[in-house]
């Protein structure tokens, strides 16, 4: 994949001010979103994944404060889309003035919220809600042009244009979610943040929405930040995946790397937390313990109380994201076990085999086959 970033997040931290001191919801997170890519952000509730996304969209309100970091957005240089080439200089998102921010949102970056029920206004028809966006952001647009664009958008997401005059309660859950996606697409943005877009939907509908997102992305070329707690879903749709735990990224890798060679014990645990449909039925263990309380984070690596490989350094030193394998510099992990300078204990047979002492659930056959695919899709 060529290096064509559309969004760069550098050392971003977000605190929630509370009576008992600041809560570090997002702590020193950096990542790059490539153009046309689906970047998956996975984590449990309270891991800071939504806070991170909202910080990028400048949607956070007090008591949340961005305490450090930068967010750079690189608008599409020319090409398709209406007057996209007016501004090709990178945008420092966190420094935008309120006026510029208004112009930035929706045109450059839009959001699909978790619950389509709440994201749509129940007393306005879907058409009115699309027109509302267009009227605000493109004041010059004529009424008929707005109508036309709204119809086009609905058609794009697979809803018959005659549903424009429907109210949200007249649509099914899946159609509502499609309508929300249509609204997010209204100004042809460069980036769409999708915050658990399918969580409230049934699996069959979820599958349709995912397919829809994939086709739309191929056609329109936007990038997606896809937030979910469902790692198995993410592994299907995302090109790159980042795992968050207690406000920090603990591992980032391509989808195939993460699935086949997870480095972080937490990632490994997550991958083994959902039962599989195929392969032998094995006893499964999950991850012992509970996610930490952000108000009282464990010292050092926040995962160490739940980690069965924790050693001395884990309790004292905060691990940073490093690339342990020189041949895959994009696969980064924040774990002392992969950092020789911390002198991790020698595990019999190395870490990967120690991890695999947990019940192995992947069939040997597909693994072999996917390993080929892995080598061919890597850069």
């Amino acid at each position: 994949m060529t290096n064509d970033p559309v969004l760069e997040v550098k050392h971003l931290s977000v605190d929630y001010a509370s009576a008992s001191g600041a809560v570090h919801a997002v702590d020193d997170v950096s990542f790059t979103l490539q153009r046309g890519q689906v970047f998956g952000l996975a984590g449990e509730s309270g891991s800071g994944k939504s806070t991170l996304a909202y910080a990028v969209a400048r949607l956070l309100r007090p008591p949340a404060i961005v305490t450090q970091g930068e967010v750079w957005m690189y608008p599409r240089s020319g090409g398709k889309g209406q007057d996209k080439d007016e501004n090709v200089a990178p945008v420092d998102v966190l420094q935008l003035s309120p006026e510029k921010l208004r112009a930035f949102r929706w045109r450059r970056l839009s959001i699909v919220f978790q619950s389509a029920m709440n994201a749509l206004n129940p007393v306005l028809s879907v058409g009115a809600q699309i027109a509302d966006v267009l009227r605000t952001h493109e004041p010059g647009m004529s009424r008929s042009a707005r109508q036309e664009r709204a119809e086009e958008l609905l058609r794009l997401v697979g809803i018959a244009p005659d549903r424009l005059s429907s109210y949200p309660h007249e649509l099914s859950g899946g159609m509502r979610q499609r309508a929300v996606i249509a609204i997010a697409l209204a100004l042809n943005p460069d980036i769409i943040i999708m915050d658990e877009p399918t969580t409230a939907l049934d699996v069959v509908v979820q599958r349709e929405i995912l397919a829809e997102i994939k086709t739309l992305r191929e056609r329109l070329g936007f990038s997606v930040i896809f937030i979910t707690h469902d790692l198995s879903l993410l592994l299907e749709i995302a090109d790159r995946v980042a795992i968050m735990y207690a406000g920090r990224l603990v591992e980032t890798a391509t989808q195939t790397q993460l699935y086949h060679q997870p480095h972080h014990p937490y990632t490994y645990g997550l991958l083994h937390s959902f039962p599989m449909l195929h392969g032998p039925r094995r006893e499964m263990t999950g991850i012992p313990g509970t996610p930490p309380d952000l108000r009282a984070l464990p010292s050092g690596c926040a995962f160490h109380p739940r980690c069965k490989f924790a050693f001395g350094a884990c309790q004292s030193t905060l691990p940073t994201l490093l690339a342990p394998c020189p041949d895959s510099p994009e696969h980064k992990v924040a774990c002392h076990l992969h950092d020789a300078s911390q002198q991790p204990p020698k595990l019999p047979g190395g870490l990967s085999s120690a991890l695999d002492q947990q019940p192995e659930i992947i069939d040997s056959q597909p693994q072999k086959e996917l390993a080929n695919e892995h080598s061919s899709t890597l850069y």
Binding site: V203, V204, R207, M276, H278, R281, G286
Partner: protein, 382 residues
């Protein structure tokens, strides 16, 4: 026998049965194993709606249509379906939270009366329900001690304060909330979702039931702790030989968790049998669609799915006020035949306890060639 015996981890499976006056048969030996504890026979449930106008037609939501199932001691049955498939209604009918519109529910072979009062309380001593949402199923105004001691007192298991204290602690230890002293005085808001669900499970156990109905017990919990709670339920099932009903929308967890699986669509049963059979060799087009749609990292390429004609079955479950005639899946089914629009398909036995309600299999019991490509690892090799 010590009052604490049923709570000890190493306790014999039968120990708590022996204590219950209602349990005359020690239903533990293998011969009795196959006798169902709780059965539903052709159960229907219709929720009446307001008439449209005074002379309007009588209408109702036909939530459950002709469901039969049986729960056996020490066995778990999963009911899988999408929202609106009627799976939660089935659990609530079995728990006697709603009266049935038609059909019978039998407990140990005796039909239960739909009325509340003393009989219902006696029934709940044996059949307990765990709700989906541990954030709303516990009373925020009361401590964990209160939640657990109430059933102990109501069902007459604890006769003194000391006994009560002891049993509450034993219950907390059984659901791995240790040290129990730390949890006993806490309020629900001080606990995480997983801990709350454990309290809810402990509360259900406090009645010393024989049947546990778990309605999506883990869907509100974080991914990493779901397995913990499921494993806890499995362990309890083994220890107490509980008959377990597991309601879920996640068919993969049914495979892991349940001996038998039953798939529901729009209030009708469509397929059932041993979990492994149903999931590895789904017969009903809806089950196949469900399995095809489930997230599966092994199938990262969309191409592996698009081959299936089932993708034409997009759409959503029908309205249950005016459900389609015949098989309720027929408007979405790519293999629908004229007969599917007219009649409700009967049960076709496929062997091994595997059955389906589908006309495709009615003639022979088996299709000569599989209509739908199966997602076996072999098919990926091409």
């Amino acid at each position: 026998m010590s009052i604490l015996q049923p709570f000890t981890k190493s306790g014999k499976p039968t120990s708590n049965k022996a204590m219950q006056p209602g349990t005359s048969t020690t239903a533990s030996k293998d011969g009795v194993q196959d006798r169902p504890l709780l059965e539903a026979e052709h159960v229907r449930k219709e929720f009446p709606l307001k008439r449209a106008g005074f002379f309007g037609p009588r209408r109702g939501v036909k939530a459950v249509e002709d469901v039969s199932l049986s729960l056996r001691p020490g066995r778990s049955l999963a009911v899988v379906g999408e929202s609106g498939s009627g799976k939660t209604t089935v659990a609530r009918l079995l728990a006697q939270l709603y009266p049935t519109s038609a059909g019978k529910i039998r407990f140990r072979g005796n039909p239960i009366k739909g009325k509340g009062g003393k009989a219902a309380r006696e029934y709940r001593r044996h059949v307990q329900l765990i709700f989906q949402d541990p954030f709303s199923s516990l009373n925020p105004m009361h401590t964990i001690r209160y939640h657990l001691s109430r059933p102990l007192r109501l069902y007459g298991h604890a006769h003194s304060a000391a006994e009560e204290e002891q049993q509450v602690k034993a219950l907390l230890e059984r659901v791995n909330l240790v040290p129990a002293e730390q949890f006993i005085e806490k309020y629900p808001h001080q606990l995480s979702g997983g801990q709350r669900q454990r309290v809810a499970i402990a509360r259900a156990l406090a009645a010393r039931p024989e049947v546990l109905l778990a309605d999506e017990p883990v869907s509100m919990l974080d991914v990493s702790i779901r397995l913990d709670v499921l494993n806890l339920l499995l362990r309890l099932k083994e220890e107490d030989r509980l008959a377990l009903l597991y309601i879920t929308h996640d068919i993969a967890s049914a495979r892991y968790f349940a001996d038998e699986t039953l798939v529901m669509y729009a209030g009708q049963m469509v397929e059932g049998g041993p979990s492994e059979e149903v999931i590895q060799e789904p017969k009903h087009p809806y089950t196949q669609l469900l399995l095809l749609s489930a997230p599966d990292p092994e199938k990262t390429e969309e191409g592996q799915r698009s081959a299936s004609p089932l993708l034409a079955a997009r759409g959503e479950p029908p309205s249950l006020i005016n459900p389609p005639k015949g098989c309720r899946f027929h408007p979405r089914c790519p293999f629908a035949m004229p007969v599917c629009r007219e009649q409700v398909p009967g049960r076709t036995e496929l062997g091994n306890g595997h059955w389906t309600h589908c006309f495709l299999y009615q003639q022979t019991g088996k299709l000569s060639s599989p209509v739908i490509p199966q997602d076996t690892p072999e098919s990926k090799d091409e």
